[in-house]
């Protein structure tokens, strides 16, 4: 009885025929894939393609309706995350399961399945931090850490269990380029010790740089498996979205118009408990240009947005001027009426009222600029027409204008909110994370609308953590770090390393500071 000679490595994990349905949607249908020990395997797909459902099944959070899971060649059932961890499966979630008010070591202890003596745990954590040369202080409280450091907590949690399969769910979505490099180094080291890694992402150049195999999902099915090192990025993208990729078209020359939004010496204390103070922020946005503001989360982006939108008045009226008029002390409605519209990062509860219909949500911000409320009464017909036009123009998938904002998926709601503001043709539009969690096709459409808006003579300010997006969209770019804004630079003159250094530089993220 000899083994066939070609079967050199038995897969660590093999899925065959996995299917899972939710009411009204088939999230996974007949999915098969295998990950070998030491392999970094990419799971590629758009939002809603079924990646999350699939990894939740592997990690025991959800149960498949049909199909089998084999672990080291033997069929297994994984009824709970605990069972998954017992097999040796570790997972780093996209949204970290961390506790902000607790220390790093307490967070790590919470991730362990059995009680562990604190001193012994500290020793083990220190050993792991050293062997992977990860800078992290175990005694600090999580809310004081950068996103990259938080992710390291999750990775250490997994490594403590000596994982044999590590699942990384969209790990780079909030990291600086330097942090991404660091993470890739760590992952390669983990894989070289024989651990299989399942890497979920929709960022193709990362997958090309890191992964040896890729399984591409679309609408719950496997559409292709390939070797990302040889496959072209464009081909993978097209497989992923199932259509030709749209390129953003920039029109004529931009950035030559008059100053529309001017911010000078804007100072604002952060909101407790964990806010960042804005310190003497100053910039100008001109008609026809898109100004990008890059930065790692929590460096004052949300404070800047609330100061510009008027939710919190600025220190002086002159701190924010719109077309030459000082508006720093005006409230949000007055600023909108003058032409300054803002889209905050948080959709449900900030940009939209979750339990209001789309039509009602449209009234809430558009009434200042569009004649939707003559004599203070809501004109239902006009509102419906406006909301309908937004839904059509931005391809919002919904049952209609009466649907509750809460019932839309994150990406769809974002399309509606962006459409609602762009539909008012504001003189200045400030957006925070415009395409966060939106699938690639829709993200391209939103970006195109932003470019078009700028070309019509508006000034657009995009605050984003997604550098690729900013490099694609912006004419000029500045970086916000600990509440300070750097001087803007023309995007054409910037390298990605340079921006990364600006983003991480003063933040205490450098390796030397923690070594």
């Amino acid at each position: 009885m000899t083994q066939p000679p070609d079967q050199t490595v038995r897969p660590r994990l093999a899925l065959s025929g996995i299917s899972k349905s939710f009411p009204g949607v088939k999230a996974n249908e007949d999915i098969s894939l295998g990950v070998a020990p030491g392999e970094i395997h990419a799971l590629l797909g758009e939002n809603g393609a079924g990646k999350s459902t699939l990894v939740k099944i592997i990690y025991g959070v959800q149960q498949a309706d049909a199909g089998t899971i084999a672990w080291d060649g033997a069929p297994v059932s994984i009824p709970s995350p605990k069972a998954a961890r017992r097999l040796g499966i570790g997972m780093v979630f996209q949204h970290f399961s961390l506790f902000d008010a607790m220390t790093v070591i307490e967070n790590i202890a919470l991730g362990l399945d059995e009680a562990c003596d604190t001193n012994e745990l500290k020793g083990r954590v220190a050993a792991i931090l050293e062997s992977y040369s990860l800078p992290l202080d175990p005694e600090r409280e999580v809310h004081t850490l950068s996103v990259g450091e938080r992710q390291r907590i999750e990775i250490v949690r997994c490594l403590l269990q000596n994982p044999r399969l590590l699942i990384m769910d969209e790990p780079t979505s909030v990291l600086t380029p330097q942090e991404v490099d660091k993470l890739f180094g760590t992952l390669r080291q983990i894989a070289s010790q024989g651990c299989a890694i399942l890497y979920i992402s929709h960022k193709l150049h990362e997958i090309k740089a890191l992964c040896e195999a890729a399984t591409i999902l679309r609408a719950g099915r496997v559409v292709a498996t390939c070797d990302p090192r040889v496959e072209s990025t464009k081909r993978m993208a097209e497989l992923m979205i199932g259509a030709e990729l749209r390129q953003i078209e920039h029109g004529g020359s931009a950035g030559a118009g008059p100053v529309r939004l001017s911010v000078s010496a804007l100072t604002l204390p952060g909101e407790p408990p964990f806010g960042t103070d804005l310190r003497a922020v100053a910039f100008e946005a001109r008609a026809g240009e898109i100004l990008g503001i890059a930065g790692v989360a929590g460096n004052g982006q949300s404070e800047l947005l609330t100061a510009l939108s008027g939710e919190r008045p600025a220190n002086t009226a002159d701190a924010v001027t719109l077309d030459g008029k000082p508006v720093g002390r005006l409230d949000a409605g007055a600023r909108r009426a003058l032409g300054l519209c803002c889209v905050p990062e948080e959709r449900n509860g900030h940009a939209a009222v979750p339990d209001f219909s789309l039509a009602d949500n449209a009234v809430l911000t558009a009434r200042h600029r569009l004649p939707l409320t003559p004599l203070g009464m809501i004109s239902t017909g006009d509102v419906k027409r406006f909301a309908d036009s937004v839904i059509k123009r931005f391809d919002v998938r919904t049952t209609g204008t009466a649907a509750l904002a809460r019932s839309l998926s994150g990406g769809n709601l974002q399309k509606f909110i962006m459409g609602r503001e762009i539909g008012q043709t504001p003189g200045v539009l400030v957006v925070c994370q415009p395409t966060w969690g939106v699938d690639a096709g829709a993200a391209a459409a939103i970006r195109q609308e932003l470019v078009d808006l700028a070309e019509k003579g508006s000034a657009v300010v995009v605050i984003s953590q997604d550098l690729d997006e900013l490099l694609e969209l912006a004419d000029r770019l500045c970086v916000i770090n600990e509440g300070r804004l750097s001087a803007p630079r023309a995007v054409a003159s910037l390298g990605i390393d340079e921006i990364g250094l600006m983003m991480g530089g003063v933040h205490g993220e450098s390796e030397v500071a923690h070594a």
């Binding site: 995350p81 970290f96 008010a101 607790m102 202890a109 009680a115």
Partner: protein, 307 residues
């Protein structure tokens, strides 16, 4: 002679503080798990009447204390089922629980009004308390010592033990705790039950120790003071002890003024000082928002449903 007066003041103070200390300690654990149970007053009343009824019927105050804890847990479970399993609004349910507790305790206690029982005795041998100064240390009943032990126990539990860490985690970020694999709902049930038991015990301290009889609305709003105390203590057991004794001393002002023969001050004014102090403390706490919010469990009062 003055020593004796001081000792007696101290004894009254400790006795008056003990029920709010117990109820607040229970509520602290409940809130650390992320649940805001405003029904403390109702649970205390249910405990008070159940404790009195059992002590009166059996003649055993110990059984009475036990029954009070059971009654507190039972009342708390009504709240738990409504808010955890049926995800009802915690504030509304808590208020309803207080109203329910007031009514239920009056109904059950109607037949016991005017009856008396023997007061809860000091637990240590009388020989230890012969000297008045020693009496202030050794002359208390079992519930006082239990309450102090519980402060220490809860403090160690929350800071040093793994179950304590998990309980705090559930109150800090229920979604994360669930994602890691902790049974959020079960832990909250346990925390609410603990809160109920201590509230019941605190209530019974009124009917079995402070005034060994039953009267409607016996706890006189002390449950609300206990709630305020948790905020005042910034969710720390040590500060809770300090706060409870501080409130206890304010509450005994009226008695002491009488004993000292002060007549120029209306006793009603003194009687309302604890409630004024509560309002003042809560106002001060919300002014110093930064510190208060840092310590508050982040998921306090938010419903959780596993999906």
């Amino acid at each position: 002679m003055t020593t004796a007066i001081l000792v007696s003041i101290l004894m009254t103070l400790i006795a008056a503080s003990t029920p709010i200390l117990l109820a607040a300690l229970g509520e602290l654990v409940t809130e650390k798990a992320g649940v805001l149970n405003l029904g403390v007053e109702g649970m205390m009343l249910c405990g008070a009447v159940a404790g009195f009824a059992v002590a009166f019927s059996t003649g055993s105050t110990m059984l009475g204390l036990l029954a009070a804890m059971v009654a507190g847990v039972a009342t708390a479970m009504v709240f738990a089922v409504l808010t955890l399993s049926l995800t009802a609004n915690q504030v509304a349910t808590g208020l309803a629980l207080t109203i329910f507790g007031i009514g239920a305790s009056s109904l059950i206690g109607a037949g016991f009004v005017g009856r008396t029982i023997t007061r809860l005795d000091p637990v240590l041998p009388a020989a230890l308390s012969e000297h008045p100064l020693l009496r202030a240390i050794f002359g208390h009943d079992i519930v006082v010592y239990l309450s102090l032990a519980l402060v220490l126990g809860v403090s160690l539990f929350l800071r040093r033990t793994r179950p304590g860490l998990i309980l705090r985690a559930v109150g800090e970020n229920d979604a994360s705790a669930h994602a890691i694999g902790y049974p959020v709902i079960a832990i909250r049930y346990a925390a609410i039950a603990f809160g109920g038991a201590l509230a019941g015990l605190g209530g019974a301290y009124f009917s079995l120790a402070l005034t060994p009889m039953w009267a409607e609305g016996l706890t006189a709003g002390r449950g609300w003071i206990a709630l305020a105390l948790v905020v005042f203590a910034a969710w720390r057991p040590g500060r809770l002890l300090l706060g409870a004794y501080l409130f206890g001393s304010v509450m005994t002002l009226e008695l002491q003024a009488k004993a000292a023969g002060i007549t120029w001050l209306a006793p009603e004014l003194l009687a309302m000082t604890p409630y004024l102090a509560t309002i003042a403390v809560l106002t001060m706490m919300s002014l110093g928002r930064k510190t208060g919010r840092l310590n508050a469990p982040a998921c306090l009062g938010k419903p959780f449903s596993a999906s």
